[in-house]
Symmetry: C2
Subunit: 472 residues, 2 copies
């Protein structure tokens, strides 16, 4: 191509690009559904950008107070009461928006998603792609819209940060031999003032029921299975620079991530959940006792004391309840684990306040009091990816290992690390969609380069940075 013509082409291209940037399209209206805990950072980010981007942001929730509190009289915000079970209202609001962000519980997205396809509106959520969502893929593509899912922390930041490294290794002609990935929503060291090293920054029910089923992963080419009854005894220990050691128990599903991350043949693939050291050994006491079971109700549980509840799960005998537990657990419990259990007050003859509750509900009720994030407490997110791979060299290949770690601390009880790391990826991805910068259509997750690159870049500018460390 002659030089002049190329220049002209460039000018035209640049002009088109300029047009695109200045008047990208007519996307102006955002609808955020749900203004709960995880929505604080999301709403803040979008309102801040609304001035420059000329966005109108409608925030709907069943609680108008909550919406008003979160939008704080911002000129570009329109707080509304929204009942998503009201078809007419939901459809009206979706029709008037260009982009919908659903912060609803995972099981409640589908009516919204179907409306988005019908009225040709983009949708973003932080939830796992359900089977029903997956089935909308072809229709969404035909409608020219994006159903963006799994764009929070885990799933979300984990996908983006893992894929950046995996794609990079593949671009270098390398091959992954092992990928282990851990994440935990914890309490910051400065707020860590209970023996468990844990407070709730996330759905307490999920914490109590965590791991039920069988953990499945692959190690050196062999499938491995850990049933729930020994999940908290077969743990890994990992180290994060400046933050020390953590317990890690295996997640239920590690295998499906091989396909998702385009590493179907990788010999070792494990995902795990992080807790402070010693947590798992103590939690195993509840698992072995049976106190995490959510499948049956204890008759008249409010007539029992915690000690009596414990007795109901211990073999009969003449010892004290504590001594019985020590005998029962044998060498599976040490003094530190016993201290954690005792600190919860579970040996005390104090009445259980919940009636006809499942063991898991009784435990959750107790823990919500003991593990409450206090007003000045800071939570902390820790994520670590461990990659092992081979890379071609002049005369063969070299073995390499890389750890990539993220630590994010919350500011307070509202702007928690959890709210930040769940809400900001969703906010940034929504901005990119509004700006027309994401070309993918249909059901997508942030494993695509066009999403994870700008997403991670902007997160970095906000201090959410993975520290990489080459081990060899």
């Amino acid at each position: 191509m002659p030089k002049q013509k190329r220049s002209l082409n460039n000018i035209v291209n640049n002009f088109l690009l300029l047009l695109f940037v200045v008047h990208p399209n007519s996307l102006k209206n955002i609808l955020i559904i749900g203004a709960g805990r995880s929505a604080s950072s999301l709403i803040n980010y979008l309102l801040e950008h609304s001035l420059h981007e000329s966005w109108n942001i409608t925030v709907g929730d069943v609680s108008l107070d909550l919406v008003k509190q979160k939008t704080n009289n911002h000129p570009n915000a329109r707080p509304i009461v929204l009942d998503i079970m009201n078809d007419q209202q939901r459809e009206e609001e979706i029709k008037h928006a260009d982009m919908i962000i659903s912060m609803l519980p995972a099981s409640m997205h589908m009516n919204v998603a179907k409306d988005c396809v019908r009225f040709r509106k983009h949708l973003a959520t932080a939830s796992y792609v359900s089977k029903e969502m997956e089935e909308l893929d072809a229709e969404a593509k035909a409608a020219g819209i994006i159903l963006m899912n799994e764009t929070g922390l885990d799933p979300g930041i984990d996908h983006a940060s893992a894929m950046r490294v995996i794609d990079h290794i593949h671009e270098l002609g390398g091959e992954l031999t092992s990928f282990k990935s851990y994440c935990g929503g914890l309490v910051a060291p400065e707020s860590n003032d209970n023996p468990w090293g844990y407070k709730f920054s996330w759905n307490p029910r999920n914490v109590v029921l965590a791991g039920q089923g069988t953990a499945q992963y692959i190690e050196k080419g062999e499938y491995k299975y850990i049933p729930y009854n020994r999940l908290f005894t077969q743990i890994d220990t990992i180290e994060v620079e400046d933050y020390g050691l953590f317990d890690a128990y295996a997640n239920r599903d590690s295998l499906s991530y091989r396909k998702l991350y385009n590493i179907a043949a990788i010999p070792t693939m494990l995902r795990g959940t992080l807790r402070m050291p010693g947590y798992c050994r103590a939690w195993n006491v509840f698992v072995k006792l049976g106190l995490t079971d959510d499948s049956y109700k204890i008759e008249a549980s409010d007539k029992l004391t915690y000690r009596q509840l414990l007795e109901a799960y211990l073999p009969s005998g003449n010892q004290s309840t504590k001594d019985k537990l020590i005998t029962f657990m044998g060498n599976e419990m040490d003094a530190e684990a016993l201290h954690k259990i005792e600190w919860l007050g579970i040996f005390e003859d104090k009445k259980i306040p919940v009636a006809n509750a499942t063991p898991a509900q009784i435990l959750q009720d107790l823990l919500e009091k003991k593990w409450k994030l206090q007003v000045h407490d800071k939570d902390m997110i820790v994520m670590q990816h461990q990659f092992e791979y081979t890379i071609p060299t002049g005369d063969g290949s070299a073995k390499k290992a890389l750890n990539s770690s993220l630590v994010v601390k919350g500011e307070d009880q509202v702007y928690t690390a959890m709210a930040k790391t769940v809400g900001l990826p969703l906010a940034i991805a929504s901005k990119l969609i509004m700006q027309g910068k994401i070309k993918a259509r249909g059901v997508v997750i942030p494993t695509l380069k066009e999403i994870y690159e700008p997403l991670l870049e902007e997160l970095e500018s906000m201090g959410i940075v993975f520290e990489e460390r080459n081990l060899y």
Copy 2:
């Protein structure tokens, strides 16, 4: 009343009674649905009585061969192919019968039960009363029919035999303080030639999945819970005269029997399942490994050997698979348990024959080969009730204890103890209904005296006899 008039009344009554016995009513046609394993003794009994009672007996099954084999050209038998999903055929057959006996799986009774109410026909099954069945109670009463359920072995003979003792104690003014009841379908000592002392005389799937959930019972006024992960370690040992010791693990539900047996306030109530001594300690290995899980499929399980399967559930390491298992189980496994495990061939590098199977399915497939009841093998039913009660005496009350035990051996692979003890109670109860001897209507189980008295009496005449032993 003057003496003469009373005599006349007696004569009239006796005459009516005579009429009733000779021409009880017009009940002549019985429909048996299902001619499988448990139906052999049932069909035999009813055909034998059909000559004296002038019954026509239709036996329907999806397999005509099976029906013909079981009815063996008996003059009063009408073998038919019956598809219970075919509404028209099912309704026609039910309309033409006076009494229906359903040997279908528990989940398939309801269409039949609804037809029985509609066409005013009596029904008998050996299955637990489901919620749907319970809901037919008022309609069945209005229709003047009986929906007789739980009339096999367990449930069935257990209800009848327990209630006879319980009612007797109550009639004496006594009070039950403890009731433990155990039952097991086992192999007779003369056919016991494998280390587990177990062969399948019953649904193998139920044996593999037995106990999943949490066993609930009450002991000295306190509720007790044993979760599945330790069900086979917290066992009882019971003794049956002439047959020695047995392992007993707790059944999931012992509590609901308190209401059923009219002993709502009893301080100790436990139901358990019997196995030969040592079985539970060995079965616990599979529970702890996770091999009884039926909730997920093993990818390409037919590419694995049994040893490799075991490895997938064991922690990684350099020991042999057997040594790994020994280390893994610690003092929860002894040499005898190891011997049982090894005898199954599970340490061998032999290919698993089932593809994409759950761990429980793989285990079941293996056990069906190893625990097969052979042609000349005899099975054995063992049941034991242990009662403790107080009885009023001249100057207070006395403590008493009574064991009531039943042992029934099978004749061969077809007339198993299981088929006898499931089929005969159902057959006898059906005969009593046909003869108009049971007055109850609606949904009933054999806890009623008018049922259990003649039922147990006739079972005794057939050699199914509880041996009672007063301990003190």
